[in-house]
């Protein structure tokens, strides 16, 4: 009996294992979680709000067009700068995730009780993340031309429909995902908390007939456009619920195979303690946490705001510090006036 059990188990455990593929998948998965944690992770919503609430701008009027005071949570959702005349994903699916720094994904109307909405584009796919009362928390939308960018849906998928189109849903750890093809050549996936109906409701409000551009309130002098991995423009409802602020973030890898950096501008934090100087700028340099759960960080307070720099992956300290020296803030509060790219002089 003992031998039979041991033999049966050995037989079932064997089979090809591709270690390098496993490592790649683990690195990718871990990096994605770090990005979410430090960039648009709603688990750290307070940090996101702190990061963005003071960043520049686009403060909305506190009066509605009819003259009545706006109600908290009823501020119309602002959008990134529109690009008129550019081909939409509805017309030409190949523009989706083309790495052009354009957003081809939107949600119709204003989600009830919205607190945070971010558009992001990277080569391969585009993202829309939002937090609203009507969605019961955070929702992440990914749209791509190729299914490979949407990742594994996991086991136990069940059939569903989105706008009458065939879809599948799956539950994982209390979240529900719905995946479908809104148009030929486009795959989309929505992850939401709570019931699958929430994810489906968001899915049915997505639209692909608008084009916006990524806008960031800074430049990184001396860095080339190809270094850009991802660009994000984020809208955050202010604490009074009467206005919203806009900010931008970029992720870049200046050296192939080297570390990835994230640069964001946001409100100055009271726990910032200046302890170093980079190119005449007083900064706080924070090493990675001992457990590796927080990456190295540099904060540069300026003009009532703070630029945040994070490094993901090992790399020379000089390269990280060089980013701070290259950072040039762009004045003004309107994202329509912000540059479409953080690169160049």
């Amino acid at each position: 009996m003992d031998d039979m059990i041991a033999t049966a188990l050995r037989e079932r455990a064997e089979g090809d294992i591709h270690v390098e593929q496993l490592l790649d998948a683990v690195r990718t998965g871990a990096r994605r979680r770090q990005r979410r944690r430090f960039a648009v992770g709603f688990g750290a919503a307070a940090a996101v709000v702190a990061l963005l609430a003071g960043a520049g701008m686009a403060a909305l009027p506190d009066r509605r067009p009819d003259g009545r005071a706006a109600q908290p949570g009823q501020v119309p959702l602002p959008r990134p700068p529109a690009v008129v005349g550019a081909p939409t994903a509805a017309d030409r699916p190949e523009v989706l995730g083309s790495g052009s720094g354009l957003f081809h994904l939107d949600i119709s109307g204003t989600p009830i009780g919205w607190r945070y909405v971010a558009w992001a584009a990277t080569r391969g796919f585009e993202e829309l993340t939002l937090e609203a009362a009507e969605t019961g928390g955070d929702v992440r939308v990914v749209a791509a031309r190729d299914l490979i960018w949407l990742g594994e849906l996991g086991p136990g998928a069940a059939p569903a429909t989105v706008d009458g189109l065939p879809a599948e849903t799956v539950e994982w750890g209390g979240s529900h995902a719905v995946r479908w093809q809104p148009r030929p050549g486009i795959w989309a996936q929505v992850w939401g908390n709570g019931e699958p109906e929430i994810a489906i409701a968001v899915a049915e409000r997505l639209r692909f007939d608008k084009v916006y551009r990524c806008a960031v309130p800074f430049r990184l002098a001396g860095y080339a456009e190809p270094a850009l991995n991802k660009c994000s423009t984020d809208m955050v409802l202010d604490e009074d619920g009467l206005s919203a602020t806009t900010a931008g973030t970029v992720w870049l890898t200046p050296v192939t195979g080297g570390p990835e950096y994230q640069v964001s501008v946001g409100r100055s934090r009271t726990d910032t303690v200046l302890n170093d100087t980079i190119s005449g700028r007083e900064v706080q340099v924070k090493p990675a946490s001992a457990g590796g759960s927080a990456p190295p960080e540099i904060r540069y307070p300026f003009d009532g705001r703070t630029a945040y720099f994070w490094q993901f992956g090992a790399g020379p300290a000089e390269a990280f510090r060089a980013l701070v020296a290259a950072f040039t803030p762009v004045p003004g509060n309107d994202p329509n006036d912000w540059p479409a790219t953080a690169f160049g002089s």
Binding site: M1, L9, V19, L22, V26, R33, E171, G173, A290
Partner: protein, 176 residues
């Protein structure tokens, strides 16, 4: 030891264990990957603890048990159906194999149907060759509880195998 070094050296063993713990090759590979993703950002702390093997195995078992708990009833049904379909395929596959191979396939099917902690106990004892103390550490229970899991699992396996043998002998009598 860096995380990459560890995965290259011990990753395959972890994946094999995950296949057995999950009872399904693909689910096991997903499980191992998920555990490594969670371990990656805290690797320095795990290594500082001195026993990354034990730590990751415990993570793996906890993730599996937690995952099973969290799945909705619909998915459990789907999962069970998937296992049953796999069983059916295996029964057909082993039809032409020798008696020993068929018996090992039957043992595996029974192990897969055991409650999670009993299955993990059997896997750690017979595949990883761990003693009750080491298994207890991974399961987060006492060695006595491990012995109880093992005893119940082995009793179930013996009962089902005996019943299967009787059924086979009965079939043989009627068909010859």
């Amino acid at each position: 030891m860096t995380f990459e070094d560890y995965v290259r050296l011990r990753g395959p063993a972890l994946v094999r264990l995950a296949r057995l713990v999950a009872g399904d090759r693909h689910l096991g590979e997903d499980l191992a990957q998920e555990v490594l993703i969670r371990a990656y950002p805290r690797w320095n702390r795990i290594v500082a603890g001195g026993r990354p093997d034990v730590y990751l195995r415990r993570m793996l078992v906890n993730a599996h048990v937690s995952w099973r708990r969290k799945r909705s009833s619909t998915e459990v049904v789907d999962g069970a159906e998937r296992v049953e379909r796999a069983n059916g395929a295996e029964v057909a596959d082993v039809g032409d194999l020798g008696a020993e191979a068929a018996e090992r396939a039957a043992v595996w099917r029974l192990i897969r149907r055991l409650p999670p902690k009993q299955r993990v106990t059997i896997v750690l004892r017979y595949y990883e060759d761990l003693d009750d103390g080491a298994i207890a550490e991974i399961l987060g229970c006492s060695p006595g509880t491990v012995r109880t899991h093992a005893m119940r699992a082995l009793t179930t396996l013996r009962q089902h195998l005996a019943a299967t043998e009787e059924s086979a002998e009965e079939t043989l009598r009627w068909t010859t």
